[in-house]
Every structure is written in C-alpha cells, then in structure tokens.
C-alpha cells in the first residue's frame, strides 16, 4: 500500500546529538496524526526531514511513495506546510500573499476563487484586501491555511499550528482539519496541545529525546488519560 507519509528507520544526527533515533511511521490518506513531545524532542526535525530541508543521516522519509531526499522538488507537489507562526509578506495584502504562493505551486486562481479560499479558511472578506502587516497572528494563520488548502495537497505538515491562537480560532482550525481529513488529506501535526490532539487526531504519537515512545489511537483513551500518559513519559 502507498502511504501518504512514511518514515523508515529515519535518523538524524547533529554533530554530537542524535535528534531522531530511527523513526518508523506510516500515515494513511485521510488520517490526522498528532505528534506530542517536549521542546527538543525531535518533532520539528521530523517535519524538516519530510519537507526535505535537511537530509537524513540514515533511513528515508517518503511522501506519497516518493523518497524525499531523492525527489526534493517533486514531493513538494503533494505537500503543504504551515509553521507555528505564519509570517507572510507584510507589504502585500492577504489576497496578494495567497495569489503569490498559489502561483508558485502552479495554481492560477481568479480573485473570486482566492477570496473563496480565504473566507473558507475563516478570514473576513474585508480583511483579505488589507496589508498582512496589520493582521493578528490568528488572521495570518488563516491565510496560511488558505495557502495549504488552495494547493490541494495530499499531505499537510503542521508545526504547532494552534500555538498562540485564541480558543475560537483554535476550534475553527480544528474544524477545518477535520474537513480536509474527510476529503482524504493526510495530516501530520506536531503539537504540545494534548486536548486538541485528542479532539482532532486519529492517532497520537509521543516522542521523547528523538524516539517515538508510544503510538496509540485516540479512541483508546480520553483526554485526561492521554495527558497522564504523556506526563508519565516526560517524567520517566
């Protein structure tokens, strides 16, 4: 079977630190996989390896069956990425930012189509024509989501996307992820937010010191049990 995302014995060594210790992972289309872990646990390293921004020391990362390191540009056709803090181009409007990034992904949308994507992502229509420099973090995050959605990516890589968002914005974001997942998009989300992970995730992985120490379905336990389990691992 062709997985949307796959890691095979994926390792990354930074000089004297082993940041990722042979990760094995498969994520299917439509799945929302949440990776929990403290700062420095290896979550961002994993995302960077899937994005092809760093080369693995050994092992391989695959997107839609293609090895990332061997096809760094080709795999980008299948993925979209939303960082923790979406900083767009402040001198361009939300619409212009979306038009630029869509264009780079070879999509040439009309103004109406672009506006639809932004509104769908939760950005008020009147804000779309204002310069991004005046946007709040939540508004920028919504443009980031619109960029990802407009790309029609098969895989969505999210690096702590709800960090700093107010509860309303976080909820809207969760709903959008569920919609994308229902359409077959595989979502890989690195997060500290246990409750969000339990709410939207289909599976949760716990990472500690570069190692995936547990992998469980979100139906197996409730949020409190998940939190307890997570804290146990962190204090172990």
């Amino acid at each position: 079977m062709k997985f949307a995302l796959e890691a095979r014995q994926l390792k990354k060594q930074y000089q004297d630190k082993l940041a990722l210790k042979g990760l094995d992972l498969q994520i299917e289309p439509g799945e929302i996989f949440c990776l929990l872990g403290q700062n420095g646990a290896g979550k961002s390293t994993t995302i960077n390896l899937f994005l092809g921004f760093i080369r693995p020391t050994s092992g391989a990362a695959y997107i839609n069956g293609l090895e990332v390191a061997a096809n760094p540009i080709k795999v980008k056709e299948y993925l979209a990425y939303i960082p923790e803090n979406v900083m767009l181009y402040p001198n361009l409007t939300g619409l212009e930012n979306l038009a630029l990034f869509s264009n780079l992904a070879s999509f040439d949308y009309s103004q109406e189509e672009l506006m639809t994507y932004l509104v769908q992502a939760g950005l008020p229509g009147e804000a779309a024509k204002r310069k991004v420099g005046a946007y709040s973090k939540g508004m920028r995050q919504k443009v980031g989501i619109a960029i990802a959605v407009a790309k029609h990516a098969k895989v969505l890589l999210l690096d702590e996307p709800t960090s700093g968002l107010d509860p309303k914005a976080s909820n809207e974001f969760s709903e959008l992820l569920l919609q994308l997942s229902a359409n077959g998009t595989a979502i890989f989300m690195a997060t500290h937010d246990i409750f969000r992970a339990k709410e939207v995730g289909t599976r949760v992985g716990i990472m500690r010191e570069g190692e995936l120490v547990d992998l469980l379905g979100t139906t197996e336990l409730n949020a409190n049990e998940l939190e307890k389990l997570y804290l146990n691992y962190m204090h172990a």
Partner: protein, 473 residues
C-alpha cells in the same frame, strides 16, 4: 515562478517607505548632478571654443613678422570636452585644458579646473558617475541586505520552499525583482540625461557618441547587477539581517574607499614620477647637447655647415640655394623635439604604470573596473588626455617646421629684417582636434573590461553555488 517572486519583491519594495525616501533622494541627486554637469560642460566647452577661435584668429591675423618670431609667438590648443563627459568628469578637472605650442619646446597642458577652483574640488565632485559608482551600490545594499535573512527570520522561506521552488529560483527571482527596482531609480535619470544630451541646441549627431553612451549605461547596468547579486548572496549566507548588513557595508567600504586609495598609493610608490624641476633640468641638459638653431657658430652647427657646403659644392653659406638659418632651425627643432618626446614618453610610461595598478585592482574590485570604463566612455580618462596631448605635440612640431620651411625657402641667409604678412600665416591650417573613436577607448581599458565581466561571471556562478548551500532548518 521566478516572475511571481520577482514581481512580489518589486511591489513589496515599492510599498516600502524607506525605499521610496532613499530612491527619491538618489534620483534627485542624479538629476541634480546631470543638470549641474551639463551646465558645467556647456560653460567650459563654450569658453574653450571661443578661446580656440580667438587664438586661431589672432595667429592668422598676426602683424607682419619674421617666421621664426612667429614660431616663438606660437599658438594654443584647447582641448574640446567630450559630449558625454558631463556624466563623468573623470580626470578632466585635474588635467590641463590647453597647451601652449611654441618652437623648441613641448609644453604640457595647463589651466585645469582644479588649478582655477577652490580647494573644495579636492573633496570630489558631485557627478552622475559619483552617484552611480558610490551611492547606487549603497542603495542596493540597503534594499537587498535582508532579502534572504528576513525570510529566514520570519519563516517565509520555508513556506516558499514548500511550494516547490528551489533556492536558486528564489535567488534569481530576487535578483530580477531588485534589478527592476534599481532600473526604476536609474532609468529616468539616464533617460533625461540622454534627452538633454541629444536634444541640446547645436548638438552634432554622431554614432560614436551614441555607442559611447549606450556602453556607458551598459557597463553601469553590469556593475549594479554585480552588486545586486552580491547583496542577495551575502543575505543568503547569513542568518541575521544585522550581520548581512555589516558584511555588505564592509564590502562597500573596501571596494569604494580602501582599495581605490590603496591602489593609487601603491602605484605612486612603485612608480615614482620625477619632479617638474628635475625633469626640466634633465631635458634642458639633453637639448643643449644638440644643435642650437639660434647659434650658427656652435661647434655642432659648424660641422653640419661643412657637410652642407660639401653637399652643394658651395664655398659660402650665401651661395647655398636654400637659407641655412632655416635649415639649422629645422635640424635643431628636430633634435630638441626628439629629446622632449623621449622624456614625455618616459613620464607618460610612469603615469600609465601607475594607472595600470588601479586597472589590475579591478579584478579585486568591480568599482575600479567600472570607474575606468566609465571615464573611458566619457572621454575624460588619462588615455584620452594623452591622445590630445600627442595631437597637440604633432601639430606644434608641424607648425614649427612649417615656419622653418618658410624661413628656408622665402628668406635669404642672415636676413633678419624681412617681415612676412598675415597672408603667410593664413596658409597654415589651424589646430583642430578629433577625439579617438569608441573602439580605441575600449582598447585602452581592456583590463577593466575583462575584470568587470569576470566579476559578473564570478558572482553568477560561485555566488549562486553558495545560495544552494543555504541552511534552511
């Protein structure tokens, strides 16, 4: 892809108030330098035209004189300014504007702008070339220093790359975007300069001027392109905007201030020029070894006399079919000219060697390469000055020998009383000067030309290889 990012850079920059303020300032400086340069060119050219016409008229309408007296009366050659020298004054302000052409001695050009102006000229002049060579690179640096570092600091670089764009494509797009922005600042000023040049009254259309202007603009475009690529690459290899800015300002100081001064000083130290007094004394001593045209009793003149009498089978000089006084003058002129030319050639050689140091330094620094090419195209460099000096010397020698020939053929031996009328002087064509063509000017700066294009190749290949190695995560 490249087009989209380039357009984004262009629009973002135009919407940046800092850029607008800086660009308007630079554009105003360029326009001011163009207008001031053109005014200065007009004034000086007019003065020189009038002066040349006046001395030509005075020479051709001189009172009745003995031809040799006329040779001492002499004439002046005024150096016409090149049509596009208003864009780059080059050495024009420091080299002389006129040469006094007289019998027996070669004079160097005198009455430079610097000699006639206040000491403020030593601080440099605000010319179009100054703005283009020194200030435009600074504007480019302030525009581009954060182009990559800011994307790294804000994380937009990751989003860009996740869209399937390569680092090299981003770099080229940025270069294209900033190139367009720089063209927006420089374009209007150069367009106005061209319109002022070709539209002014009395302008004589010449392909050479057009080619020189196009090359002048072309060389600066290459120079700006080098700075844009350099700035983008430096921004790419740094992680922080502040360190990228410091590095780029360091490069600017090195290229535009330190290396030019150091290479000029090195040239002066390696190849020292003799003092004016020393050179005059040496020339005088050497000339004195030859025949003195004014003294026919001189021992060397005596030997020549015997030789001539023998040749014509005559017993005395008065029996010769030609005037011996004129012949001895011609021979003396030939000998003294040879001595002067040798000394001037040696001096010129030293100056050229000094200049060569700066030209070779162009391989270390694109500023020096473009500076030499700019002066070359504007006709305000040392080779153009030298060309004029040589033409004036050729004319001086021709004038002196023509007057000696008149004395030899129209006056009798020992005749010092006959005076020839102004009609005689009208037979002598006045001094006219035509500047060398553009290919000659290019040939004089081959080293700088190669250096500039080598810089272009270097930043486009090595620079962009560094871009490929940018650390993303």
């Amino acid at each position: 892809m490249v087009k989209s990012i380039a357009q984004k850079e262009f629009i973002s920059t135009l919407r940046d108030r800092r850029f607008v303020v800086l660009s308007v300032l630079v554009l105003l400086l360029l326009l001011a330098a163009t207008v001031v340069g053109l005014y200065s060119y007009h004034t000086q050219q007019q003065e020189r035209d009038v002066a040349q016409q006046t001395v030509n008229h005075q020479f051709q309408n001189s009172a009745d004189r003995h031809p040799h007296r006329m040779a001492h009366y002499g004439s002046y050659a005024f150096r016409p300014k090149s049509s596009i020298s208003f864009l780059d004054f080059g050495l024009d302000s420091y080299t002389g504007a006129s040469v006094f052409m007289e019998a027996h001695r070669q004079n160097s050009a005198n009455f430079s702008q610097a000699q006639q102006s206040s000491s403020l000229i030593r601080f440099g002049e605000m010319t179009v070339a100054f703005v283009l060579q020194m200030l435009l690179p600074l504007l480019i640096i302030f525009l581009c220093f954060s182009t990559f570092t800011q994307e790294k600091e804000t994380g937009t670089l990751k989003i860009l790359l996740s869209q399937g764009v390569s680092l090299r494509e981003i770099a080229w797009a940025k270069i294209a975007g900033y190139g367009k922005t720089v063209a927006l600042v420089v374009g209007p000023a150069l367009l106005i300069a061209s319109l002022l040049l070709f539209g002014r009254s009395g302008f004589e259309w010449h392909t050479d001027v057009l080619v020189r202007l196009l090359l002048f603009i072309g060389f600066y475009l290459v120079y700006f392109f080098i700075f844009v690529v350099l700035s983008v690459v430096v921004s790419g290899v740094h992680q922080r905007s502040s360190t990228a800015l410091v590095t780029l300002l360091g490069i600017w100081i090195l290229c535009c201030v330190i290396i030019p001064k150091a290479s000029a000083n090195l040239g002066n130290t390696l190849y020292t020029t003799p003092t004016r007094a020393q050179m005059d004394a040496d020339v005088h001593e050497e000339v004195a070894k030859g025949i003195d045209g004014h003294n026919s009793q001189d021992a060397r003149a005596e030997a020549f006399k015997k030789e001539l009498l023998q040749k014509y089978g005559a017993d005395s000089l008065s029996q010769l079919p030609v005037n011996f006084d004129g012949i001895i003058m011609a021979v003396g002129e030939e000998q003294s000219t040879k001595v002067y030319r040798e000394y001037f050639a040696e001096l010129t050689d030293i100056f050229q060697k000094q200049n060569r140091v700066s030209e070779w330094a162009g391989f270390l620094n694109p500023y020096l390469a473009v500076r030499n090419l700019s002066m070359g195209m504007a006709g305000s460099d040392f080779p153009h000055y030298l060309h004029f000096q040589n033409e004036a010397e050729q004319y001086r020698y021709h004038l002196a020998q023509s007057l000696n020939h008149i004395q030899t053929t129209r006056l009798k031996y020992k005749d010092k009383t006959t005076r020839l009328s102004a009609d005689t002087w009208k037979e002598l064509a006045p001094f006219t000067y035509e500047a060398p063509p553009v290919q000659w000017a290019l040939g004089s700066h081959l080293i700088s030309l190669v250096a500039l294009f080598l810089w272009l190749a270097l930043v486009c290949t090595l620079g962009l290889r560094l871009i490929d190695k940018i650390q993303i995560a």
